[in-house]
Each structure stands twice: as structure tokens, then as C-alpha cells.
């Protein structure tokens, strides 16, 4: 409670002071509560029901769940999200850290560079995904350009190769998020106390050693935040895949989010779609809750 409430008014005014905060907070809270938790509960219920094209609230137990886990496409989607997520997180962190260290060398026009590095993240994923799709399309972009320039044997058809298509999505996704991770690391680098670094420099330690032994270990919280943010972005990734491959060729680039979408809307299997959504929610919750819990326990800066 505010200790500023003036004593002299007392009564109504003070009561208002006490209730107003709760009153004005409630619309936002109710909105979030209703839209999020109510609907999550509803999705969970559907995953145990007989819903197909239309919702049907007959309880069927784990029937939809067992159909989900025996689904061939779901297996592909899970495999893809592993490959995609792992490559995406590792590449973004490695490249982001390198770029942050690069920009930390007092390079001229750093602000301009940082903005350019960040552009992919600020732009609509649908548009940039479409641009990538044109660029990597053998008939239109890179490959055609190389052929037109006279390099006839040049070949880059990953986008339409079912074994390689997921890697083109990784490329575009890494392109998109690297600058963002760079910004996180850069802020971390700027927050490091310079004393130890100066001391190490006076001792004649080479720059790489200072980074490896002093600076990077201090960036541990940033690594943690980056992994959590990237992991949840990976699980949520939908637009980039829709724009680039539409989940194809075939099902080659299906991920849980596109799986859920296609089962809900084109295959009329609402129950299976709901089960897959609940599974994704559970994975993200397992990732986020411990992270937020640990963040909350630390004193805020």
C-alpha cells in the first residue's frame, strides 16, 4: 500500500486509494486469465474428446493422444523441431556472440550497424520468409542467377529437396534472430565490470584469453536468457515455415506448429490437433517456468 495516502481526508478517499489499483488492474488480468488459461483448459479438454471436424465433447480418454503418437507426420514434426531447434539455438548464440564481440571493438557507426543487424527481427517474418523462398528457389533466385552468370554446374536446390529443406528454414531463421541475440550479448558485454579486464591487460594477457577466461564466463545469464527465448521462438515457429516451404515438400518441413494447424483446419482432426497443442504447451512450460522462477528470485536491478 502507498504510504502517501493523506491522513486528513480519511474515509472514502482512502478506500478509493485502496481499491482503485485493484479495480484498474482487473480488466487486464481478467483478459489475460480468460484468453489464456481458460482457453488452454478448453484445448486440453478437446484433446480428451472425440472432436473431429466439429467439437464433440464425448470423453474418449487418451484415444487422440495415442493417435497423435502413432502419427507418422507427428514423428517427422518432432524430429524436425529437434534438428531445427538445436541448429537454430546453437548457430544464433555462436554467431550472435561473435557479432557482439565484433561490435564491442569500438567500431565506427556502431549504432547504424546494430540497427542493420537487427532489421531481420523487426520485419514481418512472412515477408522475409517469402523473400528467402524466392532467393533459394532454384528456378528464380541464387541458382538461376549463377546459371545466368555462366556457372552452369552450380546447384543449390535444398528448398525442394525433402532431406535438405529443413536446413533452408534454419538458414532463414538464424538470419532472422542472430542480430537479436547479438543485441542481448552486446548489452551483457557493456555491463561487465572493466576492472578485471584492465588488470588482465596489464598482466599482458592476450585478448582471446581475456574473452575466454573473464568475459564469456560472466555472460552466463545472457546465455541462459538467449537459450530460453530462442527455444520458445523455435517451438512457436510457424510463419517462417508457412512462408518458405508450407511444411513441404510433402511433409518434409512439418514442425509441431504447422502440424497442429493442418490437423485443425485441413484434416479436420481437432482432437489430435488439440493434443499436439497441449504437448507443445507442456514443453514450453517445462522450459519457461523454472526460468521465470529463478529470474523472480533474483533481486531486480
Amino acid at each position: 500500500m502507498s504510504n502517501a495516502s493523506p491522513e486528513r481526508d480519511g474515509g472514502a478517499r482512502e478506500r478509493l486509494q485502496r481499491w482503485l489499483p485493484k479495480l484498474v488492474l482487473s480488466p487486464s488480468c481478467v483478459l489475460v486469465l480468460f484468453f489464456v488459461y481458460g482457453f488452454i483448459a478448453w484445448t486440453s479438454y478437446i484433446s480428451f474428446s472425440d472432436s473431429g471436424m466439429m467439437p464433440d465433447y464425448t470423453w474418449v480418454g487418451l484415444h487422440q493422444w495415442s493417435r497423435l503418437w502413432t502419427s507418422w507426420t507427428w514423428g517427422i514434426a518432432l524430429h524436425n523441431i529437434w534438428v531445427f531447434g538445436l541448429l537454430y539455438i546453437v548457430s544464433c548464440i555462436v554467431l550472435g556472440l561473435i557479432l557482439a564481440i565484433l561490435l564491442d571493438q569500438r567500431i565506427r557507426a556502431e549504432g547504424v550497424l546494430r540497427t542493420i543487424y537487427l532489421y531481420p527481427m523487426a520485419l514481418s517474418f512472412i515477408v522475409t520468409g517469402t523473400a528467402w523462398q524466392w532467393f533459394l528457389n532454384p528456378g528464380l533466385g541464387l541458382e538461376k542467377t549463377m546459371h545466368d552468370l555462366g556457372w552452369q554446374s552450380f546447384s543449390f536446390n535444398w528448398l525442394i529437396d525433402s532431406n535438405m529443406a529443413i536446413y533452408t528454414v534454419v538458414i532463414a531463421a538464424v538470419w532472422q534472430a542472430t542480430g537479436f541475440v547479438m543485441a542481448m550479448f552486446l548489452a551483457g558485454l557493456r555491463g561487465i565490470d572493466g576492472e578485471m579486464i584492465k588488470a588482465a591487460q596489464i598482466d599482458g594477457a592476450p585478448a582471446w584469453k581475456i574473452y575466454a577466461r573473464i568475459i564469456i564466463p560472466q555472460l552466463r545469464p545472457v546465455f541462459l536468457s538467449a537459450v530460453v527465448v530462442l527455444a520458445h521462438l523455435a517451438i512457436k515457429s510457424f510463419d517462417l515455415i508457412v512462408a518458405m516451404t508450407g511444411g513441404g515438400p510433402g511433409n518434409a518441413t512439418a514442425v509441431p506448429a504447422t502440424f497442429m494447424y493442418s490437423y485443425a483446419f485441413s484434416r479436420n482432426e481437432m482432437g489430435i490437433a488439440a493434443a499436439s497443442a497441449v504437448f507443445m504447451l507442456a514443453v514450453i512450460a517445462a522450459l519457461i517456468i523454472p526460468y521465470l522462477y529463478s529470474e523472480l528470485r533474483e533481486p531486480r536491478s
Binding site: 500500500m1 502507498s2 502517501a4 493523506p6 486509494q17 482503485l20 484498474v24 488492474l25 487486464s28 488480468c29 483478459l31 489475460v32 489464456v36 481458460g38 488452454i40 484445448t43 467439437p55 565484433l102 561490435l103 565506427r108 543487424y117 532489421y119 531481420p120 520485419l123 514481418s124 517474418f125 512472412i126 522475409t128 523473400a131 528467402w132 523462398q133 524466392w134 528464380l140 533466385g141 542467377t145 545466368d148 538470419w175 542472430t178 543485441a183 542481448m184 548489452a187 581475456i210 536468457s225 527465448v229 512457436k236 510457424f238 508457412v242 512462408a243 508450407g246 509441431p256 506448429a257 497442429m260 494447424y261 485443425a264 481437432m270 497443442a277 514450453i284 521465470l292 529470474e295 531486480r300
Partner: protein
């Protein structure tokens, strides 16, 4: 760290090289949009061509549908941002100036909902919307965007309010100003820059949103994201025109992004980066 002039120059060149590499797909889209269809497709690609606005004219021509989608995008983005700010300001005000022991928890809980994947609530929302006739409806999409951005708006406004010294608010209280007066005459003017950047971030996020636009709209309330997503089916045919439309769809963000990149990072990392 290294004051050696040569190394520094080399690093600068490297940094600009990376910038060019990162900007290349966008540049490529830009260049294509200034070509004619024939140039885009048949001419040996080069960076020296006479730019033409023909593709932009085509993209904006009547019947291309561009204005319909752009209008929807703009309307829904602005409306959801305004509603979001109107709901978030009182909430953030209460949390920043009348905190109690649950405030921190409340805040983290609100922000945590941003992590929840949209697919988790897609089916119920779709069912509700089809029952009440909000499918393919601008109001329906506005409400979704508001709900989607609200946690981030509350959180950002809160963090700007917290930067305002409490003494000022207490002084206004003691002088007998009502809560409304304190809010409108003292707090909001001080937090105006912060509110502006929060609003810009919300606009960008709403403008870029595609998941709900694709799942909840068909044509009537469809945004630019739906329009661009439909391009790949017609690939190669009107490539320059589609590039021009894409450029037009990202142009506002290219301009806004230049001014808001700091807020962007701050908002997207939930304050991990200030």
C-alpha cells in the same frame, strides 16, 4: 580493446561486410521491386539497371487488392495499440505507484503468457469466434492483437512509470490532486517518450503479426501478412510486382525500426536487455 589502427580498420570492414550480408535478402527484394517483370526474370542479373516504378504501380493498381489489405493492417494495428495502451496505463500505474507484495508475481505472470504458443489457444478461439461471428472480422482480429500485445505493453509502461521518482507522485497526492489529475498532469507527461516507444513497438508487432491473421481471416478482414503469404502459390509469374508489394509491406517498419530498435530489443527480451 585494441587500439591498433590497422586491426580496427579490418574489423570495421568485417562488420560492414556482415551488415551487407545480413541486409542482402532485403536488398535483393528492393532491387527486384524496381525492375520490370521482364528485367526481373530474363535479364542477366546485375545491380546496374535503370530502376522503374512500374512494379510499384502494378502492385498499387486498382484490383491488386493492396489497399484493402494495407487498410486492414493499419486499422487493426492502430486500434489494437490504442486499446492496449488504454488498458495498460491504469494497470501499470497501479502496479508502479501502489505496489503490494503480489505485484512482482503478477507482472511475471503476465509476461509469462507471452511465451505461450498461440496454437495452445487456437481451437477454442476459433470456436468462440465462429459462434459469435467474429471470424474474418476486423474487430475480432483487433481484440486478438490487443490480448496478444497487452502483457508486453503493460510490462513496458510499468518499467517507464517506475523510472519516475515516487516523490513527484507523492507530492501531487499531498497537494490534494486526484488520482486522475496525478495520472494525466504529472505521470503521463513525464512518461510520454516511453509511452510513444511502447506504442511504436505494439504497432510493429501488430503490423507484423501473421499467425492470427492467417488462421482467423479469409479476405474481408485479411491483413497484408495474408496477402503476402498468398504469393508463393503464384510464384514467378508476377515476381517484380510481388516484390514491390512486399517492399511496401515492410517499408513502414524499415523506417520505424530505425527509431525503435532499442525498444524492440527491450520489449522482446522482457527487459533482459535495456
Amino acid at each position: 580493446m585494441n587500439s591498433n589502427r590497422f586491426t580496427n580498420g579490418a574489423l570495421g570492414v568485417l562488420a560492414w561486410g556482415v551488415a551487407l550480408l545480413i541486409f542482402f535478402p532485403i536488398l535483393w527484394l528492393l532491387l527486384t521491386s524496381f525492375k520490370t517483370e521482364q528485367q526481373a526474370f530474363t535479364v542477366v542479373p546485375n545491380f546496374f539497371f535503370s530502376p522503374t516504378l512500374e512494379s510499384f504501380k502494378m502492385a498499387l493498381a486498382q484490383g491488386s487488392g493492396y489497399w484493402h489489405y494495407a487498410w486492414n493492417s493499419a486499422l487493426i494495428a492502430v486500434a489494437s495499440t490504442v486499446i492496449g495502451l488504454a488498458l495498460a496505463v491504469p494497470a501499470a500505474y497501479a502496479m508502479a505507484f501502489y505496489p503490494n507484495k503480489r505485484t512482482d508475481f503478477l507482472l511475471v505472470w503476465m509476461v509469462s503468457t507471452k511465451f505461450i504458443p498461440a496454437v495452445g489457444v487456437l481451437i477454442p478461439i476459433y470456436l468462440v469466434y465462429s459462434a459469435v461471428g467474429l471470424l474474418d472480422n476486423a474487430l475480432g482480429l483487433t481484440l486478438l492483437f490487443t490480448a496478444m500485445n497487452l502483457p508486453i505493453i503493460v510490462w513496458m509502461v510499468y518499467s517507464y512509470f517506475r523510472d519516475i521518482p515516487k516523490d513527484i507522485v507523492e507530492a501531487a497526492d499531498i497537494d490534494g490532486a486526484s488520482i486522475m489529475q496525478t495520472l494525466f498532469k504529472v505521470v503521463l507527461p513525464l512518461a510520454l517518450p516511453g509511452l510513444a516507444s511502447t506504442g511504436l513497438l505494439a504497432l510493429i508487432l501488430a503490423w507484423n503479426e501473421s499467425f492470427w491473421s492467417i488462421t482467423m481471416t479469409d479476405h474481408r478482414a485479411a491483413t497484408l501478412a495474408v496477402y503476402i503469404a498468398s504469393f508463393k502459390s503464384a510464384e514467378g509469374l508476377f515476381w517484380a510486382k510481388m516484390s514491390a508489394a512486399s517492399v511496401l509491406a515492410i517499408a513502414p517498419i524499415i523506417v520505424l525500426g530505425w527509431f525503435t530498435q532499442r525498444q524492440m530489443v527491450r520489449g522482446l527480451t522482457f527487459g533482459a536487455v535495456k
